[in-house]
């Protein structure tokens, strides 16, 4: 039997681990434990809950109030990994600078980032938003319409991204994408980027913004960026949405083409 003194000697280790990784523990609690608990308690999925909240706490047709409601719910009530207000500002700024006409969004989830992008677009621009999950897409659709964006501005495509991208040219008559926002599965970042390159949807000056490249992280994506030399890129360092201690970053890529 291990004596209590030896067990006591492990106390500093335990304390260290708890203090050092407290943000991760908090995140785990909020994103996993609370979610499971609420799922069981209410019988609704997380996305449905957030939709209910947004529906009751925001003015329809006003994207800002919808985004505010989202932010409040995600930071105070439960946790959903949207892009969040801080990184959202970076996104807004880039969109303002770029003022793209055709925008592709990979992974719309609940529609938070879709609204955010659509809000910042110039007149006559078109946003294609791809979501794989049927239920999420239904909620995203409702929220987007709630925010007052019609079919001409935002088009939601419910398909996996690797199926949609090769068909973009033929089905949607797209020649070139000005702006691509990636926020879907982190493992799909690299294959989708390569797919975009292969289909020739990227022209010189096209901007690609990839969220969460540091946490949860897309190392292969970053490695590829370092090597390939097709892009001018930098990482905007920030913290993970709705939490302060976890470092995260967004990768901003500008396609340069083959020199």
């Amino acid at each position: 039997m291990v004596s209590p003194a030896i067990a006591l000697a492990f106390l500093p280790l335990v304390l260290t681990l708890i203090i050092r990784y407290r943000h991760y523990f908090v995140l785990f609690y909020r994103a996993v434990l609370v979610r499971i608990w609420k799922d069981c308690a209410t019988g609704l999925s997380r996305e449905e809950r957030v939709y209910q909240y947004v529906l009751t706490h925001s003015t329809p047709g006003d994207p800002d109030s919808i985004l505010e409601a989202f932010d409040f719910w995600c930071s105070k009530v439960e946790y959903i990994s949207n892009i969040g207000p801080k990184k959202g500002k970076i996104l807004d700024r880039l969109l303002m600078e770029q003022s793209p006409l055709t925008v592709l969004e990979l992974g719309s989830h609940c529609g938070y980032s879709t609204i955010r992008i659509a809000r910042a677009l110039p007149l006559g621009a078109r946003l294609y938003s791809i979501e794989m999950d049927q239920r999420n897409a239904a909620i995203a659709e409702k929220i987007i319409r709630l925010a007052g964006f019609d079919d001409d501005t935002v088009e939601l495509i419910v398909k996996p991204s690797d199926e949609v991208i090769p068909q973009m040219r033929s089905n949607y008559g797209l020649e070139r994408l000005d702006f691509v926002f990636m926020d879907h599965w982190k493992k799909c970042y690299l294959p989708d980027l390569q797919l975009l390159e292969e289909c020739g949807l990227l022209g010189k000056g096209s901007m690609i913004l990839a969220d969460n490249v540091l946490f949860p992280g897309a190392p292969k994506f970053l490695r590829y960026l370092r090597k390939c030399g097709l892009y001018e890129w930098k990482i905007h360092r920030a913290t993970l949405e709705y939490s302060r201690g976890i470092r995260d970053g967004m990768a901003e890529l500008v396609y340069q083409g083959i020199k």
């Binding site: 039997m1 004596s3 003194a5 030896i6 500093p12 280790l13 304390l15 260290t16 050092r20 949860p216």
Partner: protein, 945 residues
């Protein structure tokens, strides 16, 4: 120093250019002369009495001519070589005043200059070449016995153009050396020489690597094939032999160099690690190696002078009670668990203090065992002090040159890159280092700004809180150790057999675990304080140091308690033994008187608790458990973690490698501190357990390999950059403190506590150091002890100590004054530099003004200029010739003027001013009057271009 180098470089540059100009001129003159006089008069060029480089080039010329023409005078080549040797000697003499670095640069520059000269020669030589060929045809008639000599001489030939070389190799590739006419032989010889030259100069050629390799192989084959075939008869054999020997010699030298590198233990390993992780991690391994060396010597001392003599010449095991396992323990004495605790047979062996006998002299050598034991104990500590202090002094010398704050930024700029790094990932981190510097700057700014805010109270509060927490932690760990040691004493009193392994090894386990985990906690706490990283690191090191020291001293205090307990036990045992002996005596007396005296087996004799052995055992156990914990943490914390991260990353929802668990970094400071404290324990315990140095050598050896492997296989380069060279002495200072602190308790126990009565080399004595007195009395002549007693008289010792203190004071004050003088000199140098700069500026301004004046004059008198053109040019040529014959100083000016003159662009301002600045650097305090001279005749000439 920087300035020195610069000026030296400038000088060299000037020399170089000057030489080039000289050469050009000389070539031209020579060609003229050749045209006039044919080839017989060329020896006159050597009579010109010029500088060394010229001589050298002449020598080359002469060598060439000689090899072709003057073969009948072999002595001349020797003389020439002597000449060359002299010139070679001359060069360093001139620059004696410069330090070694500049000298090195000089040599390089000179070599470059030589190279350049060779190329310059090329043209002149190609002319010569033609002549040579004619000559060679004539020479076919010459007797063959001189061939050998020629071959030797031709090795001094300089290189010729490459095209020829290629041609010739093509020619000679098919020929058989046996059936060659002398002419062809000649050609072959030349070709071989060419190939040799090519091999030598291949490194510097601007070719792709593939081509280089191919050429190298081809030419090597060629040389191999034909070299031996040259020459005939005796000469040929001798030559072949000579060539073979030189080759072997070169190869041997190379092998010897490799061997020397291989002889430095782990050199290659450390280099490899350095290339991957930078110098900071490598510094840990170098420190480890250094420690290993010291422990080797300690081990040699204890093993050779204490353990081996006792084992070989002392009484064997089982002869006396202290060398026998007691009857009660005999049954389990060979169990592994018992041996692992260093009990049973391990306790009653040479490994521990208790085994040694107090016999004054052992064996046929009359080896004084107790004296040797004592002296080795003192000697190891004295040696360690000496080595540590010497190393510190040497390091201080090294750092004393570099550390001055005057060029801080340039130092950082030009020397902060670690050029030994060969791993891209580390390089990335180091690149971050520059960012890191910037970030530090930002952080400083931020901190300054934040201090202006009202945040200062919060910061102060947090810092106090952090220190309070750390103190709590320290106190807690100290109390835990004290508690555990007391508990273990209770266990020993109750009998260890009733307790589990965990309980028996509690002390060591707890100490190791605390030593491992508390630093982590400190690290976390220190984030509260918001210190500058460097300050934070110092705090961290200080705290870990305090923790280790506290743990160690708690342990020692608890050990002292135990020693006192044992001594109480000892008095009881002593009493018991006397009663036992008397009872034995009585029983034997009461029995038959004529019966032989009772022989009791030594295992049955009651004996006292040998506290010295107990102390030794504790330390050995501590070392063992410490080693085990280190290795286990290495395996679990590094290896297992790396394996998990590596292979779970394929199926995990976030990036394990870059994100949360990641790979571990190599913790340099923690490891070094661990090593230092380990060494402290060795110093403390080695008097009571002579096996400790041996154990430590083993430990260090294993950990060298294990850590090398672990670092290479499962660590990533650390992000926090730790300057290795600066911290070295810091570690040494720590080592010194630890050495002092660890010798304190050892000396205390030796001086104050009487040794056990029935074990160890000092048994029966009142104090351990009585052995010296005893030796003095019995082994030395009477007068010596008398002298010694006089010498140890306080009346003599006190003045001596006073004298020593005075000497130390004197030395310190002189060193201080030297330091001041150094600072003064540095200031002076800076002042001079600034003055020079000012003067240069003035000179440049004046030159500019003059130039403008001249321009005005030129514009005013446009017609005059055209008329003057021719006359000025001729003047210039004349001047050049004059200067060419004159001194180096003038040549410098000449070089300048020609550089200015050759720049035919209309904007003349640049070259002129640059020229002057060069001159200003090369020669101290250039007078203005000197400068006016060349300018007067140059400005119009420039205008005329």
């Amino acid at each position: 120093m920087n300035k020195n180098i610069l000026t030296a470089g400038d000088k060299d540059f000037l020399e170089e250019s000057e030489n080039e100009h000289k050469k050009k001129k000389r070539d031209s003159t020579r060609e003229k002369r050749r045209r006039r006089n044919g080839r017989r008069k060329r020896s006159s060029s050597s009579a010109e009495g010029e500088k060394e480089l010229k001589e050298r080039s002449d020598y080359k010329d002469r060598g060439r001519r000689k090899s072709l023409k003057n073969e009948k005078r072999p002595k001349r080549s020797e003389r020439d070589e002597g000449n060359w040797g002299q010139t070679m000697h001359k060069t360093p003499k001139k620059k004696k005043s410069m330090n070694t670095k500049t000298r090195k640069i000089n040599n390089n520059e000179e070599e470059e200059a030589k190279e350049r000269m060779k190329k310059k020669h090329g043209r002149a030589k190609s002319d010569e070449k033609k002549e040579n060929k004619d000559k060679a045809k004539e020479k076919t008639q010459e007797p063959k016995k001189k061939k050998h000599k020629k071959v030797v001489e031709s090795s001094s030939e300089q290189e010729t153009s490459e095209e020829e070389d290629d041609k010739e190799t093509n020619d000679d590739d098919e020929v058989r050396p046996e059936c060659l006419s002398p002419e062809e032989l000649e050609k072959l010889k030349e070709a071989v020489e060419e190939k040799k030259k090519l091999i030598q100069s291949l490194k510097g050629k601007p070719w792709p690597m593939k081509k280089k390799l191919v050429t190298l192989r081809e030419s090597q084959e060629f040389v191999e094939k034909y070299e031996g075939a040259l020459g005939k008869g005796k000469g040929r054999k001798l030559y072949a032999y000579k060539v073979m020997m030189t080759k072997k010699w070169v190869k041997f030298q190379r092998d010897f160099e490799n061997f020397k590198t291989a002889c430095i233990p782990w050199e290659m390993k450390i280099k490899e690690i350095e290339s991957h992780f930078g110098s900071s991690v490598a510094s840990y391994f170098i420190f480890l190696r250094w420690m290993y060396g010291i422990n080797m010597i300690l081990f040699g001392l204890t093993f050779g002078l204490v353990m081996v003599p006792e084992a070989l010449m002392g009484r064997p095991y089982g002869s006396i009670p202290r060398k026998t396992v007691p009857r009660a323990e005999e049954a389990s004495a060979m169990d592994f668990a018992v041996l692992w605790d260093f009990k049973g047979y391990a306790q009653y062996s040479v490994l521990f203090y208790g085994f040694y006998n107090n016999q004054r002299a052992v064996g046929w050598l009359k080896f004084r065992m107790p004296l040797s034991y004592f002296l080795v104990g003192v000697g190891t500590v004295a040696y360690s002090y000496m080595v540590v202090i010497r190393t510190m002094a040497r390091n201080a010398n090294e750092s004393g040159i570099g550390d001055d704050n005057s060029f801080n930024f340039s130092w950082k700029m030009f020397t902060s890159w670690d050029y030994l790094i060969g791993n891209p990932e580390t390089a990335d981190n180091k690149k971050d280092y520059f960012l890191f510097l910037l970030r530090i700057k930002e952080a400083i700014l931020e901190e300054q700004e934040s201090r202006k805010d009202d945040n200062i109270h919060l910061t102060r509060f947090l810092r106090v809180l952090a220190n309070f927490l750390v103190l709590c932690c320290l106190a807690g760990s100290g109390y835990l150790i004290y508690f555990v040691v007391r508990r273990s004493q209770k266990f020993t009193l109750e009998g260890l057999e009733n307790h589990t392994w965990w309980e028996r090894n509690e002390v060591n386990m707890v100490m190791s675990l605390l030593g491992m985990f508390c630093p982590m906690l400190f690290d976390v706490i220190s984030t509260l304080e918001n210190y500058h990283p460097r300050v934070a690191l110092q705090w961290q090191l200080g705290r870990i140091f305090a923790l280790f020291l506290g743990n160690l001293y708690t342990f020692i205090i608890a050990l002292m308690d135990e020693i006192n307990l044992k001594r109480k036990e000892e008095t009881i045992v002593k009493f018991n033994i006397t009663t036992w002996e008397t009872s034995l005596y009585n029983s034997s007396m009461s029995g038959n008187v004529t019966a032989p005296p009772v022989t009791i087996h030594p295992a049955d004799v009651p004996r006292g608790p040998c506290w010295e052995t107990m102390v030794g055992q504790e330390f050995v156990r501590l070392i063992i458990s410490d080693t085990m914990t280190t290795y286990i943490t290495l395996l679990i914390g590094d290896f297992l973690r790396a394996v998990l991260v590596r292979f779970l990353n394929y199926c995990w929802c976030w990036d394990l490698e870059a994100g949360f668990p990641s790979y571990s970094e190599f913790d340099v400071s923690g490891n070094v501190l661990g090593l230092i404290f380990n060494q402290g324990m060795i110093w403390m315990g080695s008097f009571y357990a002579p096996c400790l140095p041996a154990l430590n050598v083993l430990r260090l050896h294993v950990s060298m390999y294990l850590q090398c492997w672990a670092v290479m296989c499962c660590n990533v380069p650390q992000e926090r950059v730790f300057k290795a060279s600066g911290s070295n002495n810091f570690y040494m200072a720590m080592l010194l403190v630890i050495l002092f602190l660890s010798t304190l308790p050892a000396i205390y126990t030796i001086v104050t506590i009487p040794p056990s009565f029935d074990c160890g080399p000092f048994s029966g004595k009142n104090r351990m150091f009585d052995v010296i007195q005893e030796t003095l009395e019995s082994d030395f002549p009477a007068w010596f002890s008398k002298v010694f007693s006089y010498a140890s008289n306080p009346g003599l010792v006190l003045p001596f100590i006073l004298l020593m203190v005075l000497a130390i004071y004197y030395l310190q004050s002189t060193s201080k004054s030297y330091k001041e003088a150094n600072v003064e000199l540095k200031k002076k140098l800076q002042m001079q530099n600034e003055e020079n700069k000012k003067k240069n500026k003035q000179a440049a301004l004046k030159a500019q003004m003059d130039l403008e004046e001249a321009r005005k004059a030129a514009t005013q008198a446009a017609e005059h200029r055209r008329n003057n053109n021719a006359s000025f040019q001729s003047q210039e040529v004349k001047v050049e010739e004059n200067h060419g014959r004159n001194d180096r100083n003038h040549n410098g000016r000449y070089g300048c003027s020609s550089a200015g003159g050759s720049a035919s662009q209309p904007s003349v301002r640049g070259p002129i001013s640059r020229c002057y600045s060069n001159r200003g650097n090369s020669q101290y305090l250039p007078g203005l009057s000197q400068q006016t001279n060349p300018r007067i005749y140059r400005t119009p000439s420039l205008q005329s271009h």
